[in-house]
């Protein structure tokens, strides 16, 4: 999924209390927020940006039942079909004795599957290099990147951001594509969200 080089207007906020109204105003004005980079999970920011809920936990549930089924069916097959063994006079289908392993594999499948899915969705992996809009985005700044199209007037966006309370506003060119995010379509437009 190669993308071209795109232009972004980037502004940083130092206080989340300023960030929230800014996000709202920027979206209201019709600009497209590419992303906001924050040093910690800011409660409610995903809603403010109109991101849809993640369904990662559903994936976790599916992995979990896969684990349950794998464990139970495998043990059943081994002890009733492949090699029935009398252990302490227990029935071949010794369900109570299999619950512990079944449970462990349920958890194992779910946890491993979810972490891998998380890494895949967020494109996280060792040796991955991504464009960082501001080095302090992992320290104390909330960095907003607004995507520019051909029609966007940078200067207008910049002054808009400045009014919204951003500092260190600049324009950066970055390659789009999978390493700077591929969830543009997940973001609802402000108009759609509010219904006008």
């Amino acid at each position: 999924m190669a993308g071209g080089i795109k232009k972004f207007v980037v502004g940083s906020f130092s206080d989340e209390a300023v960030l929230f109204p800014a996000v709202k105003n920027v979206r209201k004005a019709g600009y497209k927020i590419h992303d906001v980079y924050t040093p910690f999970p800011v409660h409610g920011l995903d809603h403010a940006m109109g991101l849809r809920e993640t369904s990662l936990h559903t994936a976790g549930f599916i992995y979990a039942i896969t684990g349950t089924t794998t464990a139970l069916s495998f043990m059943t097959w081994v002890f009733t079909k492949d090699w029935p063994l009398n252990v302490g006079g227990k029935p071949h289908f010794a369900l109570p004795a299999w619950i512990p392993i079944t449970f462990e594999l349920t958890v194992l499948f779910s946890a491993v599957g979810m972490v891998l899915t998380f890494c895949y969705l967020c494109q996280l992996s060792p040796f991955v290099k991504k464009h960082h809009f501001h080095p302090r985005a992992t320290d104390d700044l909330f960095v907003m990147a607004i995507e520019c199209t051909d029609k966007t007037n940078d200067a207008e966006v910049k002054s808009f951001l400045e009014k919204a309370g951003a500092q260190e506003i600049n324009v950066q060119m970055a390659e789009t594509g999978w390493w700077i995010g591929r969830y543009d379509k997940e973001q609802k437009l402000y108009r759609e969200e509010k219904g006008y």
């Binding site: 002890f79 392993i101 779910s110």
Partner: protein
């Protein structure tokens, strides 16, 4: 003022001092960027020497056989399984802190969870050594894995609690590691973005998986943490439960009792928190993190210690009582003679356990003592000694006298190589912990930042207006803000 969260001023701040986000980063990350102190080197080398001694002890055991240990008939499980259970128990606090306390929304966990989780992982690594080397012919260790083989095809015995252990411990290790590391990724990115040297940039760049702090990523990250916490909570319970099944599924007097699973879990949490106290009291001092691991944190953990200590006490007494109530002569003999009789060969260990685990934690009913660092440090060691003896009592006092007096065994005490192996795991544990404290952020930076504005001292003092406001008015403001 964005009213999204609010914390009463009745609660102690979780972060002391005048902090902003940058200061938090600075405080926690800068020790990583400096050269380690002399004290660190001394500690590190002592740990490595212990580890090497352990390696040599294990080498002796492997080359000369299990006879290097003093295990005998009927004590086939001596120090090694005691140590195994002890270490696994210690390895419970970390995941408990991060998982259960996350679900219970206990804010104070943010100060201690990272180090506690690391400790968990190292403790489980130590624990795993014991059953593996106890196998004797360790080169056959892969026999525990269920794979199609040339022996029949004879599978592993899925009905055996010992095999359940294989699954439980390996799952627990894997999931704890994933949980811990997924929490570390954002903090590794913080270290990366501050790095000055090329090497650090490269290494922390690899370790941070290219984390940017994107809102969508955070959203998924939170969902992941929550589900992992939800999975880890029953997982923590299951691990020590399954360890307790090793004993409780048998018909050995003193082992076969249905309360074992929850009682083992309570004991594990108890000893785990004690170990966290031991480590963090030192870490906060040496690394100057008193603002993040405050007396409030220590007090909270002491509360958990007195709670779980009392639960364990309740279980000890239940066991003892039901042994009498059951009127099974063998069960009652194991309790009344092998354990509770102070003058029986191992009676001292039972009473030592009772004293350390049930009596001494009751000190922590006193708020003053809960907030006293010296007392806490001392108590944390006492508790860990007590919990070691709990496993020793369970194992040794139950099996040194078999059903027939003719097969009663002689007094068991370990050889130097058994002790060496145990010391070696301390070496492994502390070597790992020293490396961790040097190269990893010992406190979850991002999590501290997320609670800073509700629980930081300098922010809390500004909340007086809200604290005094009328509930009704406050309610309408909150409603309005949404």
């Amino acid at each position: 003022m964005s009213l999204l969260k609010y914390e009463s001023q009745q609660r102690e701040p979780l972060v002391d001092g005048n902090k902003d986000y940058h200061q938090v980063t600075e405080d926690i990350i800068s020790p990583i960027e400096m050269k380690p102190s002399k004290l660190w080197y001394i500690g590190f080398y002592i740990s490595v020497s212990l580890l090497l001694f352990g390696v040599y002890s294990v080498y002796r055991e492997v080359t000369y056989g299990i006879g290097q240990w003093n295990l005998n008939k009927t004590i086939g499980w001596g120090w090694d399984i005691t140590n195994f259970v002890w270490w696994v128990g210690i390895g419970h606090a970390g995941t408990l802190i991060s998982a259960i306390l996350l679900l219970f929304r206990q804010g104070w966990r943010t100060g201690v969870n990272r180090a506690a989780e690391a400790m968990t992982i190292f403790a489980v690594m130590c624990a795993g050594q014991f059953p593996i080397w106890h196998m004797g012919r360790v080169w056959m260790a892969f026999f525990v894995l269920p794979y199609p083989n040339s022996r029949g095809p004879l599978w592993v015995n899925f009905n055996s609690p010992l095999l359940w252990d294989v699954f439980a411990i390996s799952t627990y290790f894997t999931v704890s590691l994933l949980f811990w590391y997924s929490g570390l990724i954002p903090d590794m990115a913080t270290v990366r973005d501050r790095a000055k040297t090329k090497l650090r940039k490269l290494l922390y760049g690899i370790a941070s998986f290219g984390w940017t702090g994107s809102t969508k990523h955070w959203q998924r990250h939170e969902s992941l943490s929550l589900v992992l916490a939800g999975l880890s909570t029953p997982l923590v319970l299951s691990v020590h439960t399954i360890v307790s099944f090793d004993f409780a599924t048998s018909i050995v007097p003193g082992w076969h009792t249905t309360i074992f699973p929850p009682y083992f879990v309570a004991g594990a949490i108890f000893s785990g928190f004690a170990m966290v106290q031991t480590l963090l009291i030192v870490v906060r001092k040496v690394m100057g993190l008193q603002d993040y691991i405050t007396l409030g944190h220590i007090e909270a953990m002491n509360k958990v210690i007195v709670l779980t200590g009392s639960i364990v006490g309740c279980a000890y007494l239940t066991e003892l009582f039901i042994a009498w109530y059951g009127q099974n002569p063998y069960e009652w003999y194991a309790f009344s003679q092998n354990r509770a009789n102070l003058f029986s060969p191992y009676g001292w260990s039972y009473w030592l356990m009772m004293f350390c685990n049930v009596v001494s934690p009751q000190l922590f009913w006193s708020r003053k003592l809960r907030r006293n660092i010296t007392v806490t440090f001392f108590m944390s060691i006492v508790v860990n000694i007590g919990m070691w003896y709990e496993r020793f009592v369970i194992i040794v006092t139950s099996i040194y006298r078999d059903f027939l007096p003719s097969s009663w065994s002689t007094y068991y005490s370990p050889t130097i190589w058994e002790i060496g192996f145990y010391l070696g795991t301390f070496g492994l544990f502390f070597t790992c912990f020293f490396l961790f404290s040097k190269y990893f952020p010992v406190i979850a930076v991002a999590e501290i930042k997320s609670i800073l504005k509700t629980s930081g001292e300098n922010y809390k003092v500004k909340m007086t207006d809200i604290e005094k406001a009328d509930a009704e008015k406050f309610y309408h403001e909150v409603e309005h803000a949404h």
